[in-house]
Amino acid sequence: MFENKDGESRLRRPRAAEEPTLEGAFANDGVDLTLIRWMLQLTPAERLRAAQDLLDAASALRAGDDP
């Protein structure tokens, strides 16, 4: 899951600076730290809006609408 097409772990530092890395992306228990860091950059109002948008999109999908 965390390997590139050459079988190299993406959890290690990439060879070239332009390659994406997963180093530091996950906690040991699997929690995605990138999402937490993203949320912490938002204001409380923006965080609530993000949660609301997610619910609205899920609701629209359940109803068969284009969210």
Binding site: A27, D29, G30, V31, D32, L33, L35, I36, R37, W38, M39, L40, L42, T43, P44, A45, R47, L48, R49, A50, A51, Q52, L54, L55, D56, S59
Partner: protein, 162 residues
């Protein structure tokens, strides 16, 4: 019905209901990347505030989410008597609680909350550490499942402060 979080918070504010936001919405406002299907608040249990809360719930056409399917409206007496009031309103699910965790009521929670601005609203949100503690005390599987995410969020918040 999908909850309208901001509209629910505005309605609480409009009726001047003294409350602290707890549960999933508190975790979201404090930065946890998650979602929830209801708004949980702990309200001050005194006559004036119960009266305000009741007026709000009348306006929102609130009913208890009754497993038996009965249509039971929240009255002031019920709000005073029931520690947990799980309600459906025209703005979505709203849980009005007298306490969370190990019997912690509004008066105890307010000093452990943070004033947060949500748009033009000032709300009081339970500290994330206390949200975690309340879920640990609740001990339900759905609460325990959220703990790793909430604990990591708290860690990163604390790191960001230093």
């Amino acid at each position: 019905m999908t909850p309208r979080f901001l509209d629910l918070l505005r309605a609480l504010d409009r009726h001047a209901v003294e409350h602290v936001i707890v549960g999933g919405v508190a975790a979201i406002l404090e930065g946890a990347p998650m979602t929830t299907l209801d708004l949980d608040v702990v309200f001050r249990v005194d006559d004036r505030n119960v009266s305000r809360l009741h007026a709000l719930l009348v306006e929102l056409d609130a009913r208890y989410r009754d497993p038996a399917g009965r249509s039971i409206t929240p009255t002031a007496d019920r709000l005073r008597a029931n520690r947990v009031n799980l309600l459906e309103t025209k703005l979505g699910p709203l849980d009005v609680l007298q306490e969370v965790g190990a019997g912690r009521r509004y008066e105890e929670l307010l000093p452990r909350s943070h004033a947060r601005d949500v748009g033009d609203l000032r709300v009081y949100v339970l500290d994330l550490a206390d949200v975690i503690a309340s879920k640990e005390v609740a001990g339900r599987e759905k609460d325990l499942a959220m703990l790793p995410l909430l604990r990591r969020t708290l860690e990163l918040k604390r790191e960001a402060r230093h």
